[in-house]
C-alpha cells in the first residue's frame, strides 16, 4: 500500500502538498475537542468582542465565546458531515450504478429513468425543497444532500461499468466461470477507483460549500453549534464594528474548499479522468 502511494505521489508536488493539508484538516476534525483552548459554546458576556490576546488568540465573539475554538470545532462539523455525505452518496451511487450497468435490462431502465428524474431538478433546489417539507435541521440537510447527490455517481459508474463489461479481461473472467459478484468485486471496482478518488475529492469541496450555504440560510446547523456557515450568519450583524467575525470562518471555508478543488484537479490530470462539469 505505502510503496503504491509513493509511486502515485512521485513528482507530483501539488498532489503531495494538498494531501498533507487534507491530512491536517482530518487531524483537526478528529482532535478538535482536545486541541481547542476553550469551550466553543460557553457564553461569557463579560468577555464579549475582545481583540486577540494571549488567552484568546483570535479574540472573542459577541457572546464572549473563543473564536479559535469555534473555528476548530466548526471544522469538525463541516468536514465531518461533508465526509459522511461523500462516502454515502458515492457508496449508494457505486452500488446502484454497478447493478444497473452490469445487469442491464429493465432494472437498468427503471434505475436510470429515476436518476434522470432527480437530475431534472437543480440539485440544491431539491435539497431546499426536501428541507422545506421536513423542516430545518442538520439531519434533514445531510439526508437531503445524500438523496440528491448519489444519482450523479450512479449515472457515472453505470456508464463505466457498461464500457468495462465488453473488455476482454472481463469476458475472460466470465468464460472461466467467475461468479457475477466476484467479477464486480475483483475486476470492475478496482478499475473505477481513480475516478472515485477524483470525484470524491471534488465532492468534499461541494459538500462543504452546500452545508455551509444551508447553515448560512439558517436551515442546517442551528445555533449555538459552531459551524462556519452559521458563524458567518451570526457575524454579519457585526460587519461594521467587527468584520473579523465573518472574515475568519469564510477564510476557513475558502481555504479548505480550494485545497480540495486543487487536489481534485491535480488528481484528475494525474489519472486522466474527465471532470463532471
Amino acid at each position: 500500500m505505502i510503496p503504491h502511494i509513493r509511486t502515485v505521489l512521485k513528482g507530483q508536488k501539488t498532489i503531495t502538498v494538498c494531501s498533507v493539508l487534507v491530512l491536517v484538516f482530518a487531524i483537526i476534525t478528529v482532535l478538535a475537542p482536545w486541541i481547542s483552548p476553550h469551550d466553543p459554546i460557553k457564553v461569557n458576556v463579560a468577555m464579549k468582542l475582545k481583540p486577540p490576546s494571549a488567552e484568546h488568540l483570535l479574540g472573542t465573539d459577541h457572546l464572549g465565546r473563543d473564536n479559535l475554538s469555534r473555528l476548530l470545532h466548526g471544522a469538525r462539523i463541516s468536514l465531518g458531515f461533508a465526509f459522511l455525505i461523500f462516502v454515502s452518496s458515492i457508496g449508494i451511487g457505486l452500488i446502484v450504478g454497478t447493478i444497473a450497468g452490469y445487469k442491464g435490462g429493465w432494472i437498468d431502465t427503471v434505475l436510470m429513468r429515476f436518476c434522470e428524474g432527480v437530475m431534472a431538478f437543480p440539485n440544491l433546489v431539491l435539497v431546499l425543497g426536501i428541507v422545506g417539507v421536513f423542516g430545518p435541521g442538520l439531519i434533514q440537510v445531510v439526508l437531503a444532500l445524500m438523496l440528491v447527490q448519489w444519482v450523479y455517481y450512479a449515472r457515472m459508474f453505470r456508464s463505466m461499468v457498461v464500457s468495462l463489461k465488453e473488455r476482454n479481461f472481463i469476458i475472460a473472467a466470465r468464460i472461466s466461470g467467475s461468479s457475477q459478484w466476484k467479477i464486480i468485486k475483483q475486476h470492475m471496482i478496482p478499475n473505477i477507483l481513480p475516478p472515485i478518488l477524483v470525484m470524491g475529492t471534488l465532492e468534499m469541496g461541494w459538500a462543504i460549500m452546500d452545508i455551509s450555504a444551508l447553515s448560512f440560510l439558517g436551515l442546517g446547523i442551528q445555533p449555538p453549534t459552531p459551524e462556519w456557515g452559521a458563524m458567518i450568519h451570526e457575524g454579519k450583524s457585526f460587519i461594521r464594528s467587527h468584520p473579523e467575525l465573518m472574515l475568519y470562518p469564510g477564510l476557513m471555508i475558502l481555504f479548505v474548499v480550494i485545497t480540495f478543488n486543487v487536489l481534485g484537479e491535480a488528481l484528475s490530470e494525474r489519472f486522466g479522468v474527465k471532470r463532471r462539469f
Partner: protein, 314 residues
Amino acid sequence: MVSYIGKRILAIIPIVLFAILITFVLIHISPVDPAEAYLSAAHIHPTEELLAEKRHEFGLDQPLIVQYFQTVMKICRLDFGRSYLTNEPVWGEVTARMPATIQLAVSSILFAMIVSIPLGFLSAVYKNSLIDNFSRLLSFFGASIPQFWLGYLLIFFFSVKLDWLPVEGRGSWEHLVLPTMTLSLALIAIYTRLLRASVLEQLQESYVLYARTRGIKEKVIMVKHVLKIAISPVITGLGMNFGKLLTGTIIVEQVFSWPGFGRYFVEAIFNRDIPVIQCYVLLAACLFIVCNLIVDLVQLYMDPRISLKGRTDQ
C-alpha cells in the same frame, strides 16, 4: 431536423410529469397536514368536522392516483393553490416577485459573458502567460468561494469602507452592482475555463493550419473561425449551470435583501408554506428542463450535424 426538434420537445413531457410526481410524493410524506395548516393560518380552531370538510374540499379523501392527476391538471392551469400563510394564490405572489429575480439573473449572465469571453479567449491564445495565470487564479477562487461570504466581503469593502454602493434593497442601478458581481463570479470561473479549453482544442485543428498557410491574418483566423466554433461549449455550459445560477439567486437575494423569488422561497421554507415550496421546486425543474432544451436547439442551429448523431456530449 424538424423531427429531431419535435422529438426533443415531446421528450420533456414525461420528465415534467415525473418532476410533478416527485414533488407530489414529497408533499404526501411530509408531516404537515394541509387541512390543518390552512385552518391554523386562518386562526380557526381545527375541529374534526372542519378538518374532514377541508380535506374533502382539497380532494385529500380521493385515491392517490386521482389526486396526482388532479394536481397535474391544476398545475397545467397554473393553479398552485393558496399560500398557507397569507391565503393568497401562490401564482400571483410568484409572478409579482419574478421580475426582480430575472433582472438579477440576466444581468449576472451578461456580466459573466462580458468578462469571461475575452478572458478565456486571451488565456488560451496567450497560454501560460500572465493573463492565463490570472484567469486560472480567478477560476479557482470563483469556484471555491462561498457566495454568501463573497457578498458580505463586497458589502464590507464597497458599502461600509468606501460607502460607494448601497448595502441592500432594489431600485436604482447601484443596487444591482454588488449582487451581480457576487452572482457572476462563480459563472465567470466556469465559462473562462470552458472557453479556454475549447479554444485550445480548436487551435489543434487542421483548418487553423490551412488558414495560416493561406496567409490569412492571425486576428481574422482567431475571431472569425476559432472563436466562432469554440464558443459552443460555453453555450452548453450556460444551460448546464442554470441550476447554479438559480441557487445562486436564492443566496444572493438573502444576502442583499433582494425582493425576489428566491427570498420568498426561503421564507416559505421557514414557515413550512408547502404550496410555495412546491411551486418553486417545480418551476425550477421546468425552467432547468426548458433551458437545456433551448441550449440543445441553439447548438443544433450552430452545428446541424448533431441531429444525425444525437447529442455529442452524451
